[in-house]
Structures are given as structure tokens and as C-alpha cells.
Symmetry: C2
Subunit: 406 residues, 2 copies
Amino acid sequence: MAVVKINPERLLSDLDTLRGFGRTGTGVVRPAFTKPDLEARQWVARRMADAGLNPVFDPAGNLFGLPDGDGPFFLTGSHTDSQPEGGWLDGAYGVIAGLEAARAIAEAGGPPVAVVSFQDEEGRFGMITGSQVWSGLITMDEADALTDANGVTFSEARKDIEGWHSGTLLPPSLFTGFLEAHIEQGPNLDLAKEAIGVVEMIVGTREFTVTYRGETNHAGTTPMTNRRDAVQGMAAFASKLDERLRNVVVPSTVWTIGRVSVEPNASSIVPGKVSFSMQWRDGDSDRLARMDRIIRDLVAETAEAMNLEMELSNFHGLEPVPMDAALADHVADAAQAHAPGRWRRMPSGALHDATNVASVLPVAMMFVPSIGGISHSFQEDTARDDLVVGAEVLASAVAACAGFSP
Amino acid sequence: MAVVKINPERLLSDLDTLRGFGRTGTGVVRPAFTKPDLEARQWVARRMADAGLNPVFDPAGNLFGLPDGDGPFFLTGSHTDSQPEGGWLDGAYGVIAGLEAARAIAEAGGPPVAVVSFQDEEGRFGMITGSQVWSGLITMDEADALTDANGVTFSEARKDIEGWHSGTLLPPSLFTGFLEAHIEQGPNLDLAKEAIGVVEMIVGTREFTVTYRGETNHAGTTPMTNRRDAVQGMAAFASKLDERLRNVVVPSTVWTIGRVSVEPNASSIVPGKVSFSMQWRDGDSDRLARMDRIIRDLVAETAEAMNLEMELSNFHGLEPVPMDAALADHVADAAQAHAPGRWRRMPSGALHDATNVASVLPVAMMFVPSIGGISHSFQEDTARDDLVVGAEVLASAVAACAGFSP
């Protein structure tokens, strides 16, 4: 394991500067293709050039910093766009720590490393759009048709970079693999006072919408025994779910009813209809499928018991994405070198650019702690010591992934 | 018991004509002060005049048909405004059956009877607004400040009748009592194949809004054991409620969670906040209070168990309103005369104009069946035979209430 020495002041200074673009309180407002996002990308491009990398915008807005030469290069990075109300480190940390890793490895006489800031990871338009286009999972035309909440299309938004971009997407064959550093966005590392999470896989997700239909009635004149109350159906389902799943799930499995819509939604009317989202995530495809059966059975059993009609719609699923074992082992070795005994292997419950990139390159990911597990919020933060340790681990791991053995 | 003979064809013909104002499919769209409502009121005024009554609009839009002379008169009627999507008989039946009763009693040589169509019973602006103003429960100024869902004030809406109205409210002392006929809006009479409900009391209502606050979090990265999920709190509360109330309630008691609002309401976010309405109705004040304690205890117990913060707001209560025993006995006698063995005494689970009028006059109510218990819907209907029997009972009961003993 080559231990690469980084420059903590340069790392933290660059992170603080990037935080200035779209800064709002302690967080940032920097969604893809907004003015602060484009200004941030231009600044990152200049910092890439300062580091001896050649900044290249592709037509989707992804920004690559390419070393001189033909490659192939090892790639690291993340994204610099934010949620509508985002934290200062979500994505930004992986880009700046990646840039610091490239600089530190070069200074150590190591191999050239490429850095990327993907565009629209936070889904102003679609879902992890920039890396999805770059990985060929959707076409540029498909991306162009995506709209944001105000009806602006991806096609319209990316007109602002027409003068800058290279005209074509860079071929994945230009790279040998991808390692993404990211904040955990969950509480596990923080609770355990650990410094590094070595991601084993990005969990799979399944989701559908459950609709129960009963009968809309007057809440004063309809006897309890004559009611077909859709909200009571949802409550019965939701209150039994944990117990039904108990024998199938593991501590990292999660399931959520996050969206509920009631009709007609008035206090004096027995509600005749409810729709709610049912989402579950796990790293194991078989477990996702076993949960699917249990959930469907409980939806149907509750409908039957409460005399409701049921409907399932808006199915949506993503299979778990395993990380490349060899790359993940390099991350584990680096974690043990820089934070001995203060790291763990763990799944990623959130999606990341690495999810898409895994379809074209060997991929690994690593996490640094999120204080209180808070994310997608101005309150998101990570201790500065943890930011430094994370960048050290990333630099050493990238060096190993790039074949550096000094 | 004086049995008054009505004219069924005239009754049904007037009901069918009134149905034409705002007719939509099998129902009506005739909210207070809309064009169809005002046209319907002008037509009712003409039919009052045809019956020898003097139509008088008051400044709140209530339409009275007054006999010649100084009175005091017995009063019958209901309302002709509708829900945004209303049935053809809700309110309209009590006005037309009341008009038919007045006509039939006059033709039988009985005492003069006054008829009323109150305004905005269906709460476009407030709640049973017209009879509330007339009964002095709110002032005209208070009513004027009420707004509809589009921000139109009662004050603005009633400008359309400025040229028609009498300028002042009629004094309650002009009347000796009030009997209102109405569709049941519930399934009890229809299920029992009975023709008449003699209302014993209008039930009381209590309502508040429960808010549970937990923690909004990422649905992929937040372990189940770290969650404070507000929707799960609501589900736990709702699923235990029936069991907790079981030993306190009677078959006519009702309770309803009709309105639910979740934040941020997205499938990938653990919901940090839910607000829901909790309403219950019963004819007994003590039972309402016992339910109140049980419900509050369960709200608090659930908050504690689920690690949520709780808040109760928007308290709203109406005490049960008993009907005048002597007037109700006249209705029971008339029901036994016209529909022997096919009537019952029962509470009214819905509010009616009679609720307000009871604060200034002796009041009684009677119901005819609602097919399938359906109301506040275009599908609302009552068998034509039941409409005729109901008007016969109303006419005989009003005659008795007005002191007619031929």
C-alpha cells in the first residue's frame, strides 16, 4: 500500500471556495445549470488546469479534468451540482478530494489521474442525469426531453454551455476504473465514531404506489359498520408492515411510506381513496423479491379485510450494484493505513454517479461521516479532520487503483 | 292527529322543476349566490307567491314566504343552495315539501304556515351561514368577512341581491316554531326499509388537528432504528383507535380521520411531519367528553412510543342539540298515521339549519330515506313514493304544530 501524502490546507481551502458558489447560510443552492452551478464548474475547470489537467466539458455538462497523453487513466470524482436546498459537501467533497488526490499523486511521482464532476446528479431534470448520459444508459435525445419542476427541458438548460463543450461524449475506454468519495448521508459512521466506509454495493430499490378505494361518505351520517374508509386501510397496512417483514430483513434493510394522498381530504368526509408510495431498499436481490411478496400479500390481505378495492401502479426498480472487489480492497487497505480500526465495509443506501458508471467501468466508492446523518439540508456537515482523513484514504486508494507502487 | 291530504303531482313537479336550476347529470351544481342558486331562489319566490305567500329576501339571502297577517306563524323549510357537486334533494326537499305542506294545510282550511329557504347551508362561505345569521349566532359583519375557496367574501357575493332584499332580518318572534324535513344522508332508513326518521337530537361534534413531528431523512440511508417517521405515528394511532373507543361508544357514534397532510411527501424521504383531522360525533355530551380523553391519551401515548413531538390545534366543538319534545311527538304521530310501523326515532348525524334555529325557536326535524345512504354526490336519490309519504307526514305534523285540529 503506497501511502500518499496530501495537502490538507489546499484541500480545505478549495472546499471552502467551492462552498461560496450559491452559498446560502451554511449550505448551497446550486442545482444543475443554474448560474451558481455554471460558475462553480468554471472555477473547478480552472483548478483542474492549475493542477496540470485539461478541463473538458461534454455536451451533457459533465466536466472532466484529463491528464496529458492518450491514457487510459484512472478516474475519480463526483458532482458539484446541489439539491434545491443542498449541503456544501454532497458531491462537492468527492470532486475536490479527487482533485487533491490527483495533485498529491502527481507530486508523489505517481501515474496521471483524471477527475470528473458529473452534471445533474441531484436530479433537477431526471435522476443522476449526467453520468447516465455519459454511461450510455440514456441517449442525449432522451435526456434533452427531461423537464424540471418548472417545465424547463434539459435541452434548453444546456444551451448555456454551447460555447464551451467538446461536442461529443468522452469514450469510457479512456478510463480504467472509477473511485468516488462521498459523504455517507446516513448516521452509521458518525454513531460509531468511525472515519471511513468502504462501500460493498449500492443497494437496490423497489417501489410502487398502493391505491385503496373505499366509499366517500358523510362523516356524520355514515355508521361505522357501513364504512369503507381508505385511510383506515392504509393505517392497518402500515401498522402491520414492520412485523410482517421482521423475519426477512437485515439491519441495513429500509422501507418507507413517504408519500400519502387522500381524497377528498376533508375532515367531515369519510375518505374514499388513498394512494401511498411503498419503497424498500436492500443490497440483496433475493431479499428485495421476498419483501415484494410479503408487501403485496399484506396489501391484498388488508384490502380484503377492510372491504376496499386495491391497485398497484408506478412500479420502479433498480437492482443492487456490487462494487468491484479489487478496487474496494484497495480502499480498505488505504482505510486501514490512514484510519486503523476506524473503518467498516457497508452498503450505500443512496444512489450515486457510481451506480451509472458501474455499467461501463470497474467502480468503487468510499464514505466519510455525516454529522448526525443529516443530508439534503443546509445543516449537512462533516468534521474537518474527517474530510482530511477521507482525502488521504482516497489519494492512497486511487494511487493503488492506478497501479502506483513507489 | 289531523291527517292533511297533499297533492303528490304538484309536489313532484315542483321538485323536478327546482332540479333544473344548475342541473348536472342527475345532480345539481347550485352553491350559494351562484347564478343557478339565485335563479332557483327567484323561482321559489314565485311559487311562494302562487301559494298566496309573500316572498321576502333578507340581507343574508334567506328567502321567507310569509302568510298575510301579523303572525306569529309556524315555520317550515330548509335550503335550496347545494354542495359544489350536490344531490337534487339535499335541502331542496325540505323547501318544496314545506311549500306543499303550507299549500295543503291552507286548502284544508288550516292555519297560515310560513316557508323558508335558508342561504348557504352548504358552507360555500362559513358553516350553515344563512340560518346562523338569522338566528343571531353571528353578526352580518362577521358573515360578511367569510370567504369562499377562491377568496370571494360573503359581503361581495350578496351584492347580487342588493335590489331584492328587505334590508333587515325578520325577527324570530314572527314564528312559533320550526319543523325541517330533510333526506337522511345516511343508510339507516334505507337499510331498514323504513319511510320516516323522527329526529331526537342533532348530534354534537368535536374535532381537532393532530400533528406529529419526527425527523425528515433520506429513505435510503437512514436505518429503521434511527427513524422518527411521522406517518408511522399516524398509522399506529389510527390502527389502535377503534379498539380504544370500543367500550365507550354506541352504534350511532362515529369518528373519522378525513384529512391527512404529509411533509415533505416524497417517496424517497422519511416523512418528518403529518397533520390529520380527528373528528367524532355523538348525541351525548358526556360520551363526547369521554371520547375526548381517550383520543388525547392515545395521541400522546403514540407520540411517546414513536419518539415524535405532538401538537393539537384547530379545536372545534358543537354540543348536541335536542329537538323540542312536543314538536317531535307531533312528527311521530304523523309518521304513525301515514307510515304505520315504518318509522323510527333517531339522531341526526349531520348538521342542519335546524341546529341554528333551535337557539331561537322550538325546533323539530324529520328524515326521508337516502338510497344507499349516498349524499353530497350527483348519485343522491330517494324513491318518489318515499318523497310523497314524507310530504304527507310533514304536512300533518306541521298542521298539528300550528295548532290545527279540524
